[in-house]
């Protein structure tokens, strides 16, 4: 890790801020911001993952690299399934003009909660 790489606590801080922001947006948006809520949940998950890796001084370069490090350093199949679902929905919302449902927002929140639990982070 270099001096410029975020520390585990910095990643955790960003993860929690994103998670709170997603909740705020969902409350304010009244169903019109489902896609962005899911996207922010995805980036929260990304920082939780990167934070856990950073505890072992492991950094990630891009999505493909992060995927490999989830497999080799975190080694949690269920976590990967939850993470990939969040990632795919986030991308679909941003690039394919997909309108996510309230159910999918709820599933996304569950995915993030399960990822946190897998990594040993509390709610």
């Amino acid at each position: 890790m270099s001096e410029t790489d975020p520390t585990p606590s910095e990643h955790l801080s960003d993860a929690r801020k994103n998670e709170d922001l997603a909740g705020d947006i969902q409350n304010i948006g009244k169903g019109k911001s489902n896609g962005w809520t899911i996207t922010i949940y995805f980036y929260s998950a990304l920082h939780y993952v990167d934070g856990k890796l950073a505890e072992d001084e492991i950094t990630t370069e891009n999505h493909g690299d992060r995927k490999q490090k989830i497999k080799h350093h975190i080694s949690d199949r269920s976590l990967y399934q939850n993470y990939k679902e969040l990632k795919c929905w986030s991308e679909k919302s941003r690039y394919k003009c997909w309108e996510a449902s309230e159910d999918q927002v709820a599933f996304s929140k569950d995915d993030l909660s399960l990822i946190k639990s897998s990594l040993g982070y509390s709610d």
């Binding site: 990967y80 399934q81 679902e85 394919k96």
Partner: protein
């Protein structure tokens, strides 16, 4: 699909595909055209067979320059559980394609357009 050792599989004339026939040696036990048996491909596709249906079509692309092997897996309709199962297979087979990154895209057929895939993608399975 012909189940003899040497089979002909005629791709459609859709834009972006090479038309004509492919003569490949196909496994009698597989529904898929196995294009790269020496990698993890055959065993990955064998696992994927469990989801046919609801899988309706599968396209694959091997990019040895970018070191990516990519699959577009089409479903007859949206199916969250099947998608997650295929993400799990992606996790399981992540290291089985040498230095190539395995990427899966699982999409309901109604959301898929042929412009979504690259010209070098090959149709390796179609539900008959």
């Amino acid at each position: 699909m012909d189940s003899t050792n040497t089979s002909e599989f005629e791709f459609g004339n859709a834009e972006g595909f090479n038309s004509g026939t492919n003569q490949l040696e196909s496994s009698e036990s597989s529904k898929f055209i196995i294009t790269e048996p020496e990698l993890g491909n055959q065993s990955f596709l064998t696992q994927l067979e469990a989801f046919t249906p609801p899988i309706t079509k599968v396209y694959e692309r091997f990019d040895t320059v970018a070191e990516v092997v990519e699959f577009w897996i089409l479903l007859d309709q949206e199916d969250r559980e099947v998608k997650r199962e295929i993400y799990g297979l992606e996790y399981d087979f992540m290291d089985r394609f040498g230095d190539m990154e395995l990427i899966t895209h699982v999409v309901p057929e109604g959301d898929f357009a042929e412009s979504n895939i690259t010209e070098d993608a090959k149709l390796i399975y179609i539900d008959e």
